[in-house]
């Protein structure tokens, strides 16, 4: 074996059950995508240096851009003149075929490896994490941070999601991005993202997780701003990075607090030391958890740091699917579960997680009701669903949270890829006619089901899943969340705690209520999306209508796989009242990881709600979901919509508030961004710096003024000099005499 493998417990004599199995190869998991990044990156930077001017078939105008793998503006737009000049789209990167192989292959390989490891893990049934230590990263005094990976049931689940869903999205991207001149760059970023995401999940201590944490933020930044020539895209990338940095501030402070108080940052050691070192429910652990929560709200786009995610839709759609729906944004949920040993002894912090999740879920869902951009709807939907996950992990339903994370990855990836497929078709059509209409505006769609039947069906599956229609994946996970929250409202550590003076029990009932409303709204806005996009008359335009067609197989195939998963993924954690599949698989799988924390929350009681109660709650949830769909179907009239280019009917005040997203962006801008810039420029730079410089220059001026005065005293007249001399005599005489 290449690396030394340590037993989970330092000094443990017995080798870990996973050592000697495929798990020994865990280091290769992130390294595979990293390899892809390096190769694709090299192709992006140097790949076509030779092919550029030397290749006579390459057009003159695409030399500088294509040669270095940087797209000129929106890659799809640039295709316009390319097509006009050449029969083959010469914008395509000369090594695109190689990239198409490397990019997806490394992720597929990683997925295969993950599956092998998973098999080994199923066989070994380890009760402690498998830790692989590579080298000492920051050995400083009593601080010892190792570059080490930790493999346990939790990370295994997420690794499978990342590599599995990731592989599908990579394959989809081959079709979606193939003609973009920045194709190798795109894949190198995407590979890099997978690498960092795996580091995040596999990190055996907080700093290594933080590497991945910020690394995925970086990739997100790069991919959001992938078509950077458009200022809005570049702005969105920057906004995402900075909002995340605000969250990272919390993450860092939490690390500092932990190190200062328990002297370690390694998960296993924190878990071992926390109960003794941190008094349960005490201010310290609550503070730590709240700072961690700040980090999570940044990464997972919760109130107050959610603002970056809608803007992040500026990136290519597969990116939105992978990063801003399936994986990265769920990192916050992962972190709460990962540090559940802390959250479980800080009920107030847990309740805060719950409240933030619930409020975000409702808030984002309302905004989703009035968005026209198909991706924006999905973005707010993502924020809302992440809110559900937060509610779950806040209520100590760690399994439910992870469960929803997994199913959400399936159906939201499907929704985004489906939307991508739609946008691809729309764009191709507009491209053909050289029109500059918005390819993402639902008002320009309508009736697409005839042109894109596969996409239509698959998206309906995903919609039913997210709405929580029974037997689809989302039903199971969302139902479990609602059920657990309801159950926790009585007789748990949370219900006895209080939050800002509100009793925990009452609060949790409130959260449950909010979640129901949010679930209802979810069904409404998703149905709205489907209606406006696929049903009713087509509004794309007369010329374009006939040009709309289904995406190629390389794109639809991943959709199909995801469709299957969205439909059947719920059986991963089949509730006991619905005996279709082996009950509670995920819960039992995660037991070694979240068991102690769950026990702490439930005070040793059962982790699940009573089956009869669950069945009742599930029925309620199903009714709400179906009601939402029904309401939308009845109330919305796709036929009445006008294309975006035509004048729109006036909005009511509420509608306007929703379509402007409650003016939160504007408020942040006025309250934080502008004042900071103005304060820095006028007070700090011009003011303080000017003052300091002024004082310095004033000193020089005073010296010169003194010099001028002295110089003026030198009149050139001997008489003056004689007087000065006598004055000096008097001074000297006086000084000498007075010393007597």
């Amino acid at each position: 074996m290449l690396f030394q493998t340590a037993a989970a417990v330092a000094g443990g004599a017995a080798p870990h059950p996973l050592s000697g199995t495929a798990a020994d190869w865990v280091w290769a998991l992130p390294l595979l995508p990293l390899l892809g990044f390096v190769l694709n990156g090299a192709l992006a930077i140097f790949g076509s240096a030779k092919a550029g001017p030397a290749d006579p078939s390459a057009g003159s105008h695409d030399g500088p851009d294509a040669a270095h793998g940087v797209p000129g503006g929106n890659g799809q737009d640039d295709g316009a003149h390319a097509d006009a000049a050449h029969a083959v789209p010469s914008q395509r990167h000369p090594y695109a075929w190689l990239v198409s192989v490397i990019g997806p292959l490394v992720v597929i390989a990683a997925f295969a490896l993950a599956c092998m490891i998973c098999v080994a893990m199923i066989a070994a049934q380890p009760t402690t994490p498998f830790i692989q230590r590579y080298f000492s990263w920051m050995p400083v005094g009593d601080l010892s941070i190792d570059a080490a990976f930790q493999l346990d049931q939790l990370s295994m689940v997420i690794v499978l999601v990342i590599t599995g869903v990731g592989a599908l999205i990579h394959i989809f991207s081959v079709g979606y991005m193939r003609d973009d001149p920045g194709y190798p760059r795109y894949f190198s970023y995407l590979n890099l993202f997978v690498f960092f995401m795996l580091v995040l999940v596999l990190g055996a201590n907080l700093p290594v997780t933080f590497v991945g944490w910020e690394g995925v933020g970086l990739c997100s930044y790069l991919l959001i701003g992938f078509w950077f020539s458009d200022r809005a895209n570049a702005d969105a990338g920057k906004k995402a990075f900075i909002a995340n940095r605000v969250g990272d501030f919390g993450f860092m402070i939490a690390m500092f607090l932990l190190f200062a108080n328990i002297g370690t940052l390694q998960y296993t050691e924190i878990a071992a030391a926390a109960p003794a070192a941190l008094p349960a429910g005490g201010a310290l652990v609550t503070t730590v958890c709240l700072f961690l929560l700040l980090g999570c709200t940044g990464k997972s786009a919760q109130i107050p740091l959610y603002v970056w995610l809608p803007d992040a839709m500026a990136g290519p759609t597969p990116v939105s699917a992978l990063i801003h729906a399936a994986t990265m944004v769920t990192a916050g949920v992962y972190l709460v579960v990962r540090t559940s040993m802390l959250f479980s002894i800080a009920p107030a912090a847990s309740l805060t997680v719950c409240v933030i999740g619930a409020v975000t879920a409702l808030f984002a869902a309302t905004i989703g009701l009035k968005q026209w951009d198909i991706k924006k709807v999905l973005a707010y939907s993502t924020i809302s669903q992440l809110g559900f996950m937060f509610v779950a992990v806040g209520a100590g339903a760690y399994v439910a949270g992870i469960f929803h994370l997994v199913t959400h990855a399936f159906f939201k990836a499907l929704l985004f890829l489906g939307a991508g497929s739609v946008i691809y078709a729309m764009h191709a059509a507009y491209h053909e006619t050289h029109s500059h209409e918005d390819a993402q505006d639902m008002r320009n769609m309508g009736g697409l089901r005839t042109a894109m039947p596969v996409t239509w069906i698959l998206m309906w599956i995903a919609t039913l899943a997210i709405a929580g229609v029974p037997l689809f994946a989302g039903f199971f996970s969302k139902d479990e969340i609602l059920g657990t929250v309801f159950a926790r409202a009585q007789g748990s550590a949370l219900s006895d705690a209080s939050w800002l003076g509100i009793p925990g029990g009452a609060l949790l009932y409130g959260v449950y209520g909010i979640c129901l409303v949010a679930a209802f709204l979810t069904a409404v806005y998703m149905t709205r999306l489907m209606l406006y996009t696929f049903h009713g008359p087509n509004r794309t335009g007369d010329a374009e209508h006939s040009l709309l067609r289904e995406a190629p197989a390389v794109m639809t195939l991943p959709l199909v796989v995801l469709g299957v998963l969205s439909a059947a993924g719920g059986f991963l954690n089949d509730p006991s009242f619905l005996p279709i599949a082996p009950a509670d698989m995920l819960g039992r799988w995660l037991e070694p990881v979240v068991g102690p924390a769950t026990q702490q929350i439930t005070r040793g009681g059962p982790a699940e709600a009573d089956p009869r109660l669950s069945a009742i709650l599930a029925t309620v949830a199903s009714v709400v979901a179906l009601a939402g769909i029904l309401v939308a179907l009845l109330r919305l009239k796709p036929a009445a919509l006008r294309p975006a280019r035509e004048p729109q009917p006036a909005e009511s005040k509420v509608e306007s508030l929703l379509s402007h997203k409650y003016y939160v962006d504007e408020a942040y801008d006025r309250a934080i961004v502008t004042p900071t810039v103005v304060f820095s420029r006028n007070i700090l730079w011009r003011g303080v710096d000017g003052l300091i410089d002024g004082l310095v220059n004033l000193t020089a001026l005073i010296s010169r003024w003194l010099g001028d005065s002295g110089s003026a005293a030198q009149t050139g007249e001997t008489g003056t000099y004689a007087w000065a001399l006598v004055l000096g005599v008097v001074i000297v005489l006086g000084t000498v005499a007075l010393r007597i």
Partner: protein, 97 residues
């Protein structure tokens, strides 16, 4: 006796100083300086009454030096008069600042 002589020489010295301070003609100023030197000579002579010949020797030195100074000084004054046609010090102020 000694006190009288010292007092008288001090007054003489002061007159010399005042002369330097108040007059504007280079030659008169120079004469005032000579007055100061002679006041000092008087002091030396007076002290020589107490301590012996050393003071008187000093007086001889001073007188010699004063003569040399006078020669040089007058030459300089002539030199300046050639350039400026005046020996009034208020008019001689090319150099200042």
């Amino acid at each position: 006796m000694l006190a009288d002589a010292l007092f008288f020489s001090a007054v003489l010295f002061a007159i010399g100083v005042v002369g330097v301070l108040t007059r504007r003609n280079a030659i008169i100023i120079f004469m005032s300086v000579e007055l100061m030197l002679n006041a000092v000579n008087l002091t030396f002579v007076a002290f020589a009454q107490v301590y012996g010949y050393a003071g008187q020797v000093f007086v001889v030195f001073v007188m010699t030096v004063a003569a040399a100074e006078a020669a040089v000084g007058l030459a300089i004054i002539i030199s300046i008069f050639r350039h400026r046609h005046t020996v009034n010090l208020t008019d001689i102020n090319l150099l200042k600042g």
